[in-house]
């Protein structure tokens, strides 16, 4: 219990991932949905870093690094799109985006 091992980190990562998924599924506001994706990415980052640490391998950290980079670009582009959408429709409600109706 006191000795923190890889499993602890992985469990933490799992919990955070779950929280992120819950966010994804229940949020309607697109902005808050973005927040939830950030949580997902971060939970994975923790797992990467932990594995990297416990196996003495830097690859995990490298991946976490790139994940952060991707997250940053995603936010930039995503927010841009969001703003355009908002300008056109006056809201960022997910339910109004139904042009993909099958």
């Amino acid at each position: 219990m006191m000795e923190i091992g890889l499993n602890h980190y992985l469990i933490l990562s799992t919990i955070l991932f779950a929280i992120g998924l819950v966010g994804i599924m229940r949020r309607k506001n697109l902005l808050l949905l973005f927040f939830a994706t950030e949580i997902l990415l971060n939970s994975v980052n923790i797992a990467f870093a932990a594995i990297s640490h416990y196996y003495n391998d830097l690859t995990g950290q490298m991946f976490a690094f790139f994940v952060i980079a991707i997250a940053a670009s995603e936010v930039a582009v995503g927010l841009g799109l969001l703003i355009v959408w908002f300008k056109r429709h006056g809201n960022v409600d997910l339910d109004t985006m139904s042009s993909m109706r099958g």
Binding site: M1, M2, E3, I4, N7, H8, L10, I11, L12, T14, I15, L16, A18, I19, G20, L21, V22, G23, M25, R26, R27, K28, L31, L32, F34, F35, E38, I39, N42, N45, A47, A49, A50, S52, H53, Y55, N56, L58, T59, Q61, M62, F65, F66, I68, A69, I70, A71, A72, S73, E74, V75, A76, V77, L79, G80, L82, I83, V84, F86, K87
Partner: protein
Amino acid sequence: MFEAVAFYLFAFLTISMFYITVTTSQALYALTALAAGMIFISAFFFILGADFLGAVQIIVYTGAVMAIYAFGMMFFDSTRSVREKQGNKYIISGLAILSAVLVVLIFAAPMISTNMTAFYPSIEGAGNTQEVGMVLFTKYLIPFEVAAVMLLVAMIAGIVLAGKKMDLSLTLMNQAEIDEIKKEQDKKVLS
């Protein structure tokens, strides 16, 4: 001992922050909680000895990403409470937990069971930042450059997208003007 205390403390903090993020109905609270959670996560990186990553986490996430979010929220009416989806809570949380467990299981199981040998073992005597630099600029040079280009592209894209019609502010316009604009746009879309 210290490690354990720190882990549990930050674990609790992170989870509660993120929990607030996904449950609160106020966008501002969510933003704040998310930013806090990001900082707490960097603590794990420090505990794990990934100092550089921790620093990047704080700078990029809390510094850059959160700032962009904050700016982005200025465009929206963030004081309004967010309408929640009326879904079955149990299904949602059940699905979330299940999938998380499965993901971790699948990726972690082989790691735990087999003895992995490190591709890039940590170099003795060098600090974390140096190590990272060594690997990043040798083995991961091309991905790194690509990431850089991607960030540039994303930046430009963000500017172009968000910058369109910056001269108009929907919040300041009255409904009639908005309708007028909408109609024009609809025409464009239709044609």
